[in-house]
Amino acid sequence: MIEILIHGRGGQGGVKASLALASAASKAGKYVQSFPEFGVERRGAPIKAFTRISDDPIVVRSKIYNPDHVVVLDPTLLHSIDVTEGLKEGGWIIINTEKSPDSFTEFAKRFKVATVNATKIAVDNNLGSKAAPIVNTAILGAIIRVLNVASKEDLEKGIKEFVPVKAEANIKAAYEAYDQVKLGKEA
């Protein structure tokens, strides 16, 4: 079973990203779970979204405290929370940032870092506004490339299901991120 934790801010689409990812993985016959941090979401405040993907039925129904991988939708979160809390050693940290993976030397000591400029991809594809781009679909392209948890075709279906508005632009953003994501060295 793979457990993925998405860190984002309310309004960035982290919960939808988790849903689309789960849906994409389920198309290939995987068992999946997707859920938000239980509670009330506030725009701009840090949020978490959880995804489990497994070859076997998933019986555990508690939150994810020790994710295999984490995703960071908003680089400003790196200064306000510890995104590596509970992260298993050797896990991927996939960050939306203009920086390259080499810039995260501290993370690279125990984890693997991948980066993608999802904000630029979102803005280029007119997803959200310049001030508040919606980066969730772009990051999905990076996630499936780095973690290899779903095919591009299945991701397309997952996005259409959970992000039906501007589906084509969202799929294009995901594909661009798939091609552009930079993978750091193995930890």
Partner: protein
Amino acid sequence: MKKVILGDHAVSYGALLSRVQTIAAYPITPQTLIVERLSEMTANGELKAIFTKVESEHSAMASTIGSSASGARAFTATSAQGLALMHEMLHWAAGARLPIVMANVNRAMAPGWTIWTDQNDSLSARDVGWMQIYCQDNQEVLDSIILGYKVSEQVNLPTMVILDAFVLSHTAEGVDVPDIEDVDKFLPPYKPEIKMDINDPRSFGALTSPDVYMEFRYKMQQAMDKAKEVIVEEGKKFGDMFGRKYGLVEEYKTEDADTILIASATVASTAKAVIDEMREAGLKVGLLRIRVFRPFPTEEVIRVLNGRKKVVVIDRNISFGKTGIFFDEVKGAFYNSEGNKPPMFGYIAGLGGRDVTPKVIKEIMEDAIKKDKPESEILWKGVKL
């Protein structure tokens, strides 16, 4: 077709596939996405039903009673304080012997204000005459709505299908959504023997004097007893048609177990991972999940527990001044039974949505295994003092 859907929407699909004809709901918190999706389904014509937006949960149940009494397959959904506000009408629905199905999202009661899960809302409605089904996953949620109508319409008692707030209601997972034509073969249209009909006027719920009232209550209890058989029969038929069988309880690795854990809802699901882990470490442990709480599966509980060394009950609820409610009911079921009565440990955990993780469950099991008998009737797990 397999779809990745929230527990709330599993309820909505269950109602759609059951071809419910009326939905009355109060749309404000603690209401959930269940009725939001049903309002969309009725608005776009996918579901041919009358959706009535009412001004309170009390009215929601009153309206549902009215439509059910006039012969419609009636549905509603609620949660927490909403269920509490319905309470008077819950008695009325059961006493009028109406086969209503309602989903209740299990939420803790305020104050302090809360939207997180525990079972005190539905267990406060323990004695109203409704059947209560506690679900462990979204598939069971969808299936239990369909099964609810199938059983309720045979025994003339309403069914409450219960799902944990957030842990199921706002969690998406893969659910097999059956074809409605197949569901039609399992669940035929509702044809009541007696209904409100202006061409055949009758009196409903009229003044009932002491010389007949008790007989009505006796018949309700008989219906509950019969429901135990019907739930098992229909759960089996459902399994034959859809590949998923349901009963009053679910046993998991109980066969040679010395220690049996009793749990319900999603805690029971998570507990399976703990049972697996402890089994791998060589411990003979098993799980008895109580799926149907009303009617209470007394015979099954006695059969499974008889002769074991220890019984551990986890309650995500409390009857103030007594103990956890499942613990109390399991003990009560045992009192007049023959044979060995194993020591029972009653833990309370996860109130108000506190996460019941595999670690929490494992610690509970280890605590019970190392003790000869419980030091008190309530064993609080994780309370910060």
